[in-house]
């Protein structure tokens, strides 16, 4: 029968669990219905590797790759593609972050960059058809070995190929065979170790499911080489499909005489038996595996003697893993030289990895040794989903280690992995993003090995228990510094004193994370912080834990859900003196870690809810500020009235201190007043919150520049303590020719001038350079002034650091962004700017942050006609006149150097915080500095130790969870922010975001999953 097309449907365990058998049936039925049964053959195959996209269908000879199929897609697919020859684009693979589908499998990066040796037949043959294996050179290598090679020639070929054990340890396979062959005694045995046990690893299962004969053929060749006539496949009972296919393959091979007696008339006999293990991790260790086959308890024994000397029933036994065996026929067929041409100096051939974790294209990949981790994760794996940052790559399962993101460019081979504290292992590769806690994942692996320890060696049995207890202490925030030393010492001891690989490697996840991520352990122990906001014992809820000013988010959201707005506003006020401001311009790191937003979901609109409360309080004349303590005599001076200064002043005033703020500008608020345009933060809102702080007795002296109008040394005499919080208001230079033209106005200067209401002399055609918030603000302000404005940015939209919602509004307001453009030279004529020479860029290699680096395209220079240039590429503090002669130290970025924990500036009585210390950062970071400074200044004045205390995050009060009705649950949806229509915005500075109504706020609050209520214990 001649077919014109084959429809290859993946029937690996993963795809079957996604319904691929139903797809297969539907496909067959529809093909029959359309009368195409003689044209199109439906073939069930093993895994294609891109398991995460299953069920998967490949239509040959067209090469079209379909993914995520549903049975209801099948009639259309059959009609369009198989009947009418029109491939269905809507069912094709679309790379992450792109829109155009890739029709053909060979063009999809996931497949394109792989090199298949062990998996050479995957997706190409029906694993239950021995004829198809044979048609793809199956059993040819066995025939070649038996009829034209001596056993020694086979061993020499494998040795010369440089094949090393794929089970993890990487021992040279040919050498092992030779040792076994030279061992005295018999009968000898070969064993295939298919006891794949690493969590998340499925290389071996996939090879067996896709191509069972390749293993049988490899084993037969090995048996011939060492003169064995019996082989065992030790496979765990948890792999039913693999066992079924393997058993069937064995029976078919016997029928064809490819197993059994006198194979190919060569006189060589070989029998294979399948042994089903019960699924104990320790059985992956060869001496335990042998004990298990022998019917003894699966426990390891001391080596030597090694199994090649004394193995199964005391006879020489050669054990290799599934992937090793499946490589063997390919080497015999195509030669040692062909194989050793692949890979690195010490590691030849390819390696199969099961790529898992936080990566787009999770699945099974086979790559040449020596490929970089970056290629595997970004080119093949498609990178990290949801715009998260890569933290580490874990290889080798529970015996392996963690490789930090800065080592991504290292080539993958046995030696390099070992150097960085990881191992090749059997091929588990787990990608970990910023939302994964290193301590937590080390704990996960330890829990696994602790469970799986067979108990024979005390070091392994008890050591894993103690290691786990220590890790639990750390993740609960109850550990001390000395516990890290103990972890390390105990880890080394367990390695030394354990008999088998399980115990010898189980401390690796702990030791390698301590090596590369010690700061994360320190954060848990010293600062009671879990940077990924995962460890329940410390975090309570990720939003509260992540907030730099400890906003008790679940409490106020819970109260909103109950309609108790007054109480909610009071909870917000406890930790935040500027809620209406934060409710508008905070970068909301809380939302980035929100559980509702995990895995691509919609984070709760925490910022909008806070704004709702602040606006509610203001409209209803509510002032939830607590009553200040009794007035104290010690006066404090604060320099700068931005978010850091205001927050510090508020808390000092509540403590009873008389506070004076010195502000060099005519208005209070710092960057809040001069850097953020009115349409994002109206002045009346800003002034309302400043007024509330002034009501506590805080005095703000405007037009008072320290270093000019008053000297820092005078303040030190008149005030008990000084807090410097003058921000970072000096724009960075572009460093291009012609930049000193008067029509080049920095974004900060431009925004300040507009905000202060003065005359702003800019031209009609404006170009803003940059991709951050200042660039977007400057462009939208220029637009509101009626100017023709565009943004030039050297990278693409994906890399823009500005807030996403602000970029969206920029688009709506019709402001163009030219991407991949960098300025080269500002052009002037007769002293007036009249153009900007630019160069086009392209995205090159990824840099260390995982973003692709912009590289100029030679000869692509062009000129943009403009009369005003607004650089917005960053700011730095400008503090020299103020701090001069006062003993303060400045960093190379012109920031004031302080003790990062206490903000003490190293000069008696002087503290500093906010952007002047950190460089340009966020409003909430500055507020956190202000809050911390107020406590440190209080301690300093009261003669208490100036030392910061740290505690775990806990809600202030217990807020009950609102029970939702079924109807309410059904209707849960993130509300969009009501906005001022575009046509009404463009000639005013009216606020764009209008805020939630009470109904919207309550509905959104009810969507919160209240993860704070999950118990830590």
């Amino acid at each position: 029968m001649a077919y014109r097309a084959n429809a290859l449907i993946c029937t690996c365990t993963n795809c079957i669990s996604n319904g691929s058998l139903q797809i297969k049936d539907a496909l067959q039925a529809e093909i029959g219905r359309r009368g195409l049964q003689d044209d199109v053959l439906v073939v069930p195959t093993g895994a294609s590797g891109l398991c995460v996209r299953g069920p998967i269908l490949l239509v040959q000879p067209d090469g079209i790759f379909y993914q995520r199929l549903r049975t209801e897609d099948i009639p259309y697919l059959v009609e369009e593609h198989l009947l009418k020859g029109r491939p269905v684009r809507s069912l094709m693979y679309v790379p992450p972050g792109e829109e155009v589908p890739i029709p053909e499998l060979r063009d999809i990066p996931f497949f394109k960059d792989q090199r298949l040796v062990a998996l050479r037949n995957r997706g190409m043959i029906d694993p239950e058809k021995i004829e198809e294996y044979i048609a793809r050179d199956g059993y040819k290598a066995l025939a070649k070995a038996l009829t034209s090679m001596s056993p020694n020639e086979v061993i020499t070929t494998i040795k010369e190929a440089g094949l090393r054990g794929r089970g993890g340890a990487g021992f040279p396979t040919g050498v092992k065979w030779e040792l076994c062959r030279n061992s005295v005694g018999g009968p000898k045995y070969v064993i295939c170790n298919a006891d794949e046990g690493d969590p998340g690893a499925f290389m071996d299962r996939s090879i067996i499911e896709a191509d069972p004969h390749s293993i049988l053929e490899g084993m037969a060749i090995g048996a011939y080489a060492i003169e064995a006539s019996k082989g065992y496949v030790y496979v765990r009972i948890e792999y039913p499909l693999a066992i079924e296919r393997l058993e069937y393959a064995v029976s078919r091979a016997y029928e064809y005489g490819l197993l059994g007696e006198d194979i190919f008339g060569s006189g060589f006999n070989f029998d294979v038996e399948i042994f089903q293990g019960a699924g104990a991790f320790v059985c992956g260790e060869e001496t335990s595996l042998i004990a298990s086959i022998e019917g003894r308890p699966a426990e390891p024994r001391v080596r030597p003697p090694f199994p090649v000397q004394s193995g199964l029933w005391g006879n020489p036994t050669n054990i290799n893993n599934v992937e090793t065996w499946s490589n063997v026929p390919a080497i015999i067929n195509w030669g040692a030289e062909w194989f050793s041409a692949l890979g690195t100096e010490t590691s030849k051939g390819t390696k199969v990895f099961s790529l898992a974790g936080n990566v787009h294209n999770a699945g099974l990949v086979e790559v040449p040794m020596g490929i970089t981790l970056r290629e595997i994760i970004y080119d093949i794996g498609g990178g990290i989903p949801y715009g998260k940052k890569l933290k580490a790559v874990q290889t080798g399962g529970p015996s392996g280690g963690f490789i930090p993101s800065h080592l991504l460019d290292m080539p993958v081979d046995y030696e390099r992995l070992q150097e960085v504290g990881a191992i090749m292992g059997s091929g588990g590769m787990v990608v970990i993003d910023e939302d994964t806690c290193i301590v937590d994942i080390a704990k996960y692996f330890l829990e696994f090995t602790n469970d799986e320890s067979c108990g024979k060696c005390t070091a392994c049995r008890e050591g894993s228990e103690v290691l786990l207890t220590l890790l639990n202490k750390i993740s609960d925030g109850e550990a001390e510094d000395t516990d890290l030393t103990l972890l390390e010492e105990l880890g080394e001891a367990v390695k030394e004193a354990s008999m088998c690989g399980l115990g010898q490697t189980l401390p690796n996840p702990v030791l390698s994370t301590l090596r590369h991520f010690r700061d994360e352990y320190d954060a848990h122990i010293k600062y009671k912080r879990c940077p990924a906001a995962v460890c329940k014992g410390i975090t309570s809820s990720p939003c509260q834990h992540t907030c730099p000013i400890d906003q008790d988010v679940p409490c106020y959201i819970g109260l909103i859900a109950q309609g108790k707005f007054d109480e909610a506003a009071e909870i917000v006020r406890r930790e935040n003196p500027l809620p209406a401001i934060c409710g508008r311009v905070c970068t909301a790191p809380c939302e980035g870690k929100c559980r509702s937003g995990a895995g691509g979901g919609d984070a709760i609109s925490i910022r909008a809810l806070k704004r709702f409360l602040a606006d509610y309080a203001r409209k209803n004349g509510l002032d939830p500020t607590p009553k200040p303590k009794e007035r104290k005599p010690e006066r404090v001076a604060i320099i700068g009235s931005g978010p850091a200064g205001l927050t510090c002043a508020y808390y000092l005033a509540l403590e009873g201190y008389p506070v004076t703020i010195f502000e060099s500008l005519p208005v209070a608020g710092g960057m809040l007043a001069t850097g953020i345009p009115d349409y994002r933060l109206p002045k009346d809102i800003l002034n309302y919150e400043i007024d509330l702080i002034c009501k506590l007795g805080v005095e703000i002296r405007t037009n008072a520049t320290v270093g000019e109008d008053v000297q820092l040394s005078d303040l030190r005499e008149q005030y008990k303590a000084v807090f410097i919080a003058t921000g970072a208001h000096k724009g960075l230079k572009l460093n291009i020719e012609g930049e000193d033209s008067p029509q080049v106005i920095d974004a900060v200067d431009f925004l300040r001038a507009v905000n202060l209401g003065g005359e702003v002399a800019i031209g009609e055609k404006v170009a803003v350079i940059g991709g951050g918030d200042a660039a977007v603000d400057a462009a939208r302000v220029a637009r509101r002034l009626g100017k023709d404005v565009k943004i030039l940015y050297r990278r693409t939209r994906n890399e823009m650091p500005a807030a996403k919602e602000e970029i969206e509004e920029l688009d709506r307001e019709g402001i163009a962004i030219e991407f991949l453009v960098a300025p080269v030279k500002a052009l002037s004529e007769n002293g007036r700017l009249n153009g900007l020479e630019c160069i086009r860029m392209e995205l090159g290699d990824l840099d260390r942050t995982g973003r692709r680096r912009p590289v100029p395209i030679e000869g692509s220079e062009f000129t943009v006609e403009i009369d005003t240039l607004v650089p917005a590429i960053g700011q730095e503090p400008d503090v020299v006149p103020m701090v001069d002669g006062n003993g303060l130290k400045l960093s190379r970025w012109n920031t004031v150097e302080v003790d990062p924990e206490t903000l003490y500036a190293g000069v008696e009585g002087i503290f500093a915080g906010g952007d002047v210390v950190s460089g340009p950062a966020t409003v909430v970071d500055a507020m956190a500095h202000g809050k911390n400074a107020s406590r440190m200044i209080h301690n300093y004045i009261q003669g208490l130790p100036v030392k910061r205390g740290y505690s775990v995050t806990r809600p202030a009060i217990d807020v009950e969870v609102v029970e939702l009705t079924d109807e309410e649950i059904e209707g849960l949806q993130k509300p969009g922010m009501p906005l001022l229509p575009v046509q009404e915005r463009l000639d005013t500075f009216e606020e764009v975001a209008l805020g939630f109504s009470a109904e919207m706020a309550m509905a959104e609050a009810k969507r919160c999953v209240r993860c704070d209520k999950e118990s830590a214990d």
Binding site: Y3, R4, D62, G63, G85, V100
Partner: protein, 127 residues
């Protein structure tokens, strides 16, 4: 079943070689039958069947037959396109089963373009 000899592997493989070639998507020649509504209405199925039968009859194992949609020239259907490795594709128009067989033999197998039925050389580029 009698004992296998090494040569038997070839024989077993040979039996399904054509299927495997199809599956590997590699072949010396590719015959594309345009099967849009227009093509089918004009008799493309008969054209395809003729080509398939001829392949079966001659036991040809390195020519792949596949279908595609309307080529845009509905008035000249049935149409086929023949692609030889490394040569520009050729489109044939106004076909009958007999003409199609001739094209298969002379062009796909023999490498010589059947100019009397050919429309033009070349194929459109898509994404």
């Amino acid at each position: 079943m009698p004992k296998m000899k090494p040569g038997d592997l070839e024989r077993i493989g040979e039996r399904i070689k054509r299927t495997m070639l199809l599956r590997e998507g590699e072949s010396r020649a590719k015959v594309i039958v345009h099967m849009g509504t227009c093509g089918i209405a004009a008799g493309a199925r008969g054209v395809m069947k003729a080509v398939m039968d001829e392949i079966e009859e001659r036991d040809i194992d390195d020519v792949v037959v596949t279908i595609s949609s309307c080529a845009g020239l509905c008035s000249r259907e049935p149409m086929i396109t023949v692609e030889l490795q490394g040569e520009p594709a050729v489109k044939y128009v106004d076909l009958t089963p007999e003409k199609a067989k001739k094209i298969l033999v002379e062009h796909a197998l023999g490498g010589k373009i059947v100019t009397e039925y050919a429309l033009a050389a070349g194929s459109e580029r898509s994404i």
